[in-house]
Subunit: 357 residues, 2 copies
């Protein structure tokens, strides 16, 4: 039985994935040199499609890493000489903070319990923090920080760098890259691709900062920003990249562009609305995130009365896979991903089965 | 026209690649959670197959990274508090050295021109160097350091760590992991897979050293050895890994094990012998590496009288792709990869075409 995955990543593969994979294989693209014009054209195609999709200006480079987690480290190396600042309200925003400590930076923290969100007005960034690390979508708790609040936060602290984790929400958030210095995502979430590729969007100000820090401290040996940037100017990468992942990302981003990012965002909101209404109005379910403005549109987290494992098992027998809660909420919550790869009809079918339990 | 790639990586894909890819896709393995038992079984299968293939004892973990270049950095973070030592005779051994400098370590160097190899007896490791970095196969120049010399070098300096780059030769070199502390390779070379996965073999002594260094210096935030090691005990990875790459590696390693690594090594030597005899005996070609013991069995480098670009173009018209020289030798050398994915018959066909030029 073919399953439909509503898991927060790895997730349902985008419907066009197999077609693009077949083109990759039949074109023998897995064997081409990463220093050839053929590769550079492929690389440029993907960068162009992602640039269009997310409205990234030329002030920012679009770079490829092994994972979004690697981006945490590279951003901290590049933008933080001594002190970073982290908004933490879940496991992934906490890991960004932990990476900073592991790099021997002083990592300031403003923390809230899982399930709660941040508004710009309540955030206080310490004077010497160089970088504000914000998470648009906390995959562990289903909390989002509204894009308007992220923008306000940067406007409140215009002289500090801001990094935005859009791992499990891109291309949903409409970030204004005239404000956002750097952002990053991985492809196994809303792009519906197999894992193994991280995408790092980063501006020239970060590059200059990295070059400055390098005079005093290490900014890493592998995939350091100046080397990545220099290679990207030539549509290349310093090391042999995940060519298949880059190709597939370009093709799916092209598919998204053909549909139109506005349509994708609207469909995301429509489907999220259905799911939230269901868990609000169905006995045995309740939204984990109380305040509506902080509810994620791409990863919906529900408290369950029944053990979530029982629900997951029952739904799987109907051909649908939903995620368990994260960490201490594993047994008492569900995480339902709402990515472009699952259609309105598939979401309706899922809710139909959940209703029938 | 379908091409046969004799390029040093990305290279010809292994003949079973498409079959395994199809199984991956039809099993929806691109969507499974990397925290599920299904993933852990997949992960363990690959580790077990690689362990068997390369005869890696249980003292060593087999870990997954985004690329072999990432392994350079992680090894230096883990095994070097202050000083490393590098045998450099080409572009890739030089990069390992440069990574050490970028991490603000003191990187000692013993250097030879491209095309020349190292014997253990001539190597002098400075007293305070903690790690010896050796390259089994210099992809840029087609020089190998014989495994016997690598083993002798470690025996000469038993108290120092030794790291061996087997990126473009594994599974050909028969390393004795009772001597070798750490080694690493990437899958787009002799394993005939698309790029995007690095494999890091590392022993518990390195882990202990990393834990010691961590008390004083950063050992990185992403994929640091203690965190990778802990996750590997549970057949997991800290971040979402390249599940497709790990799956395909396991299946191709299984194919190799069915053939037998001894047979693969013998076939590699037979094919290399053919290629070297050809370039020795054919006017217009000459081996770049003079001393036979230092000639790579997996990447053969030939000087050419005619511009190498002309030869590459002529051969491509016959459906075969060979590599250009590296760096300053781009125009005057050919690099012919000799990996398991290209058969004796395909090598003979290539030499036939080169002869006819």
């Amino acid at each position: 039985m073919s399953l439909t995955f509503f898991t927060p990543g790895p997730a349902q593969l985008y419907p066009t994935f197999e077609k693009h994979l077949q083109t990759f294989v039949s074109g023998q693209l897995g064997s081409i040199s990463h220093r050839s014009q053929q590769y550079r054209d492929l690389h440029k195609f993907t960068v162009d499609q992602v640039r269009t999709l997310l409205n990234v200006p030329d002030s920012h480079a679009i770079l490829f890493l092994g994972s979004a987690s690697e981006a945490w480290e590279r951003i901290l190396f590049s933008c933080v000489e001594l002190e970073s600042f982290h908004l933490v309200n879940g496991s992934f925003s906490k890991k960004f903070h932990d990476y900073s400590q592991a790099l021997c930076k002083y990592a300031h923290i403003q923390e809230k319990p899982m399930g709660e969100g941040f508004s710009a007005s309540e955030v206080v960034v310490p004077e010497y923090a160089e970088l504000i690390c914000a998470t648009h979508n906390e995959t562990s708790s289903g909390v989002q920080m509204p894009v308007s609040e992220i923008h306000k936060l940067k406007q409140k602290y215009p002289d500090k760098f801001i990094a935005v984790d859009i791992v499990s929400s891109a291309p949903y958030p409409e970030l204004d890259f005239s404000l956002i210095d750097t952002a990053f995502f991985s492809v196994q979430k809303a792009f519906g691709l197999p894992a193994g590729l991280g995408v790092w969007i980063v501006n020239e100000k970060c590059l200059k900062k990295a070059e400055y820090i390098r005079n005093q401290y290490s900014i890493g040996g592998h995939n350091d920003l100046p080397t990545l940037w220099k290679n990207a100017q030539n549509n290349e990468t310093p090391a042999t990249p995940n060519v298949m992942g880059i190709y597939l990302l370009g093709k799916v981003a092209e598919d998204f562009n053909k549909i139109g990012v506005k349509t994708i965002r609207k469909e995301t909101e429509q489907k999220a609305d259905l799911i939230y209404k269901f868990i609000e109005n169905t006995s045995g379910f309740a939204p984990f995130v109380n305040e509506k403005k902080y509810r994620s549109q791409t990863v919906v987290v529900a408290n369950t009365e029944a053990p979530s494992a029982d629900i997951i098992k029952a739904v799987k027998e109907k051909g649908m896979v939903i995620g368990s809660g994260y960490g201490k909420f594993k047994a008492s919550q569900l995480r339902i991903a709402n990515f472009p790869a699952t259609s309105l009809e598939q979401v309706q079918a899922l809710l139909h089965e959940l209703k029938a339990l």
